[in-house]
Amino acid sequence: MAYHDDLIRHAIFLSDLNLQDEPKQVDLRRAVSAAYYALFHLLTTEAAQNWKNDSQRNRFARMFDHGRMKTCSSKTSSRAIPIDPTEIPIDTDLRLVADSFVKLQQARHTADYDNSKAWSRTQAYEVIAQAEDAMTIWSNIRETELAQDYLFDLMGTR
């Protein structure tokens, strides 16, 4: 199983711990973090697949920067609708992936660093569902030119 799939399963496992009782904050916070990293690793691994030298792909994937990926994703999710009507369905899906990335990243940051916020199981479930939805949608558009452009732009090259 791919690492991003493992991360989602891990997020679900953590959020379901102590199901009959009150969840522990540490489990919910780690679940939220894992959900974000599932999408993060899916996208960086996908981008690295375009790197010709197989032995350098893991190093290539480490070149991505969270802040630059957020900037790119914010722009992608709020840009103008394409003129070409045939691109609209793919663009709509890509916006959803990009928008989810921005939201998941903020959730992860709050979960990892802001101890003033209490998490509920519903909050964690919603974050995980958003990551799962984004990953499913990505699998449908991953080979399109728009999606490949997005992967390239995630590096913050423009």
Partner: protein, 104 residues
């Protein structure tokens, strides 16, 4: 320095936020805060309490997506107000236990 409309015109923003009601089914309470996100971008954080029924796991994703789309269409936080929207959902019974002020 660029000041987003949502920060420069708070009264106007509140007027539009109040106009969101009545909310779609399943919403028990909807609150918001204006703040910067982790990277310093201006943002609006929505704190939404759902009915226990609307927060059930099999339909949670559908409920949250419907509400996010509703707010995007009615308010357009990014395009009209220059604010990135972030959403937090919890169930009514969870909020009864947690009593977190931001959720109301």
């Amino acid at each position: 320095m660029y000041l987003p409309r949502g920060v420069a015109q708070p009264t106007e923003l509140i007027k539009h936020l109040n106009a969101l009601a009545p909310y779609p089914p399943g919403v028990v309470n909807l609150r918001y805060t204006i703040d910067n996100d982790w990277s310093g971008d201006p943002a609006i954080f929505f704190w939404i309490t759902l009915s226990d029924d609307a927060a059930r796991l099999p339909i949670l994703s559908q409920t949250s997506r419907r509400l996010m789309d509703f707010i995007a269409q009615q308010l357009d936080p990014v395009g009209q107000w220059g604010l990135i929207p972030y959403f937090n959902f919890r169930s009514q019974s969870e909020q009864t236990k947690l009593k977190e002020e931001v959720f109301g």
